[in-house]
């Protein structure tokens, strides 16, 4: 017979350090909800400065989480960002782990789970 105390319904992997940043998380969630978005739209939705956003977009692009395509040249150039399959998987995994972690942090819910378990 299983010991109830050893039944732990909270199993989560390591928290993704790349997404553990407010701005990067906002960008990823925004791109996950859209097909594509340009730089100005992301600036508006994340309320970030252009310089900061540009650095975070480069970080996410280097990690393979987003694709950035540029059209035009000079001051009229536009950046179009879209999330990749790898980025989608990473975000969903991160969100799942966060939820499990949050549930573990709330003692009442732990007791509820134990009752069920």
């Amino acid at each position: 017979m299983k010991n109830r105390k050893t039944v732990i319904p909270f199993r989560f992997g390591p928290i993704n350090g790349l997404l553990h940043n407010e701005l990067r998380l906002k960008v990823m969630v925004a791109l996950d909800s859209l097909e594509s978005a340009n730089f100005m739209y992301l600036c508006e939705i994340t309320e970030a400065t252009r310089g900061n956003l540009s650095i975070q977009l480069a970080t996410l692009r280097d990690a393979g989480y987003i694709e950035v395509s540029k059209s035009g040249s000079g001051p009229t150039s536009r950046s179009c960002c879209r999330i990749t399959r790898k980025g989608e998987d990473a975000l969903h995994e991160y969100e799942k782990n966060l939820r499990l972690l949050f549930e573990q942090e709330v003692p009442e819910q732990i007791n509820e789970y134990r009752k069920i378990g």
């Binding site: 407010e22 998380l25 909800s33 097909e35 969100e95 942090e105």
Partner: protein, 212 residues
Amino acid sequence: METKEELDIIAHTRSEIQARREDTGRSLFLIWGYPTAICFLAEFAVLMLWGKDITAWLWIVIPLIGMPLMMIHKRRDYERTGRRTLNESYALQLWMFLGAASAVSGFTLGITDIYSQCYCTIQGLIIATGCFVTGELSRHRPMKLCSIVGAIITFACPFLQGDRWPWQLVVAACVTIIALIIPGHMLLRKNKHEKQEDSNTIPLWPDQWPAA
């Protein structure tokens, strides 16, 4: 950041994007609706006045007007809003596929000389299908209702054969008005109403309140 804070950020960003969403298909409906209805009625008028069957090729005008208009509008829309939602993308692909299916069917029926028998039925059903799926994507019930009414009216076409076949064009024009033009205007009105409501909403935080 704490766990709860991060979950709040995720939820807040999603709701913010949802709040800025505009209904899918509004422009597509009007861009395709008016040329299609006008084309069907023009074909009917020419057939009734002069009885020329060459008008069977008048449908070519529809994609010639609609396709460039749609491309220009989508490009401007993207530049204005700065984003494209998944639903918009699905709706665009759907209507492009249906437009191609419509053009292929028109061409094939024109060549095989059975244009007068089933062209309008096929067009009516294609329009109603497009309207229903777009209504489902937009979660807009009146649009789905319009598409069902349009599909039902389409079934009048097979009963109009022989000398009465030009009246099929009037039926197809009615289907276009019911399943494309009316839903397009309904979405336009809904969007305007929502924008007005948003501008009337008092912000939650005092620092965002307008100065007295």
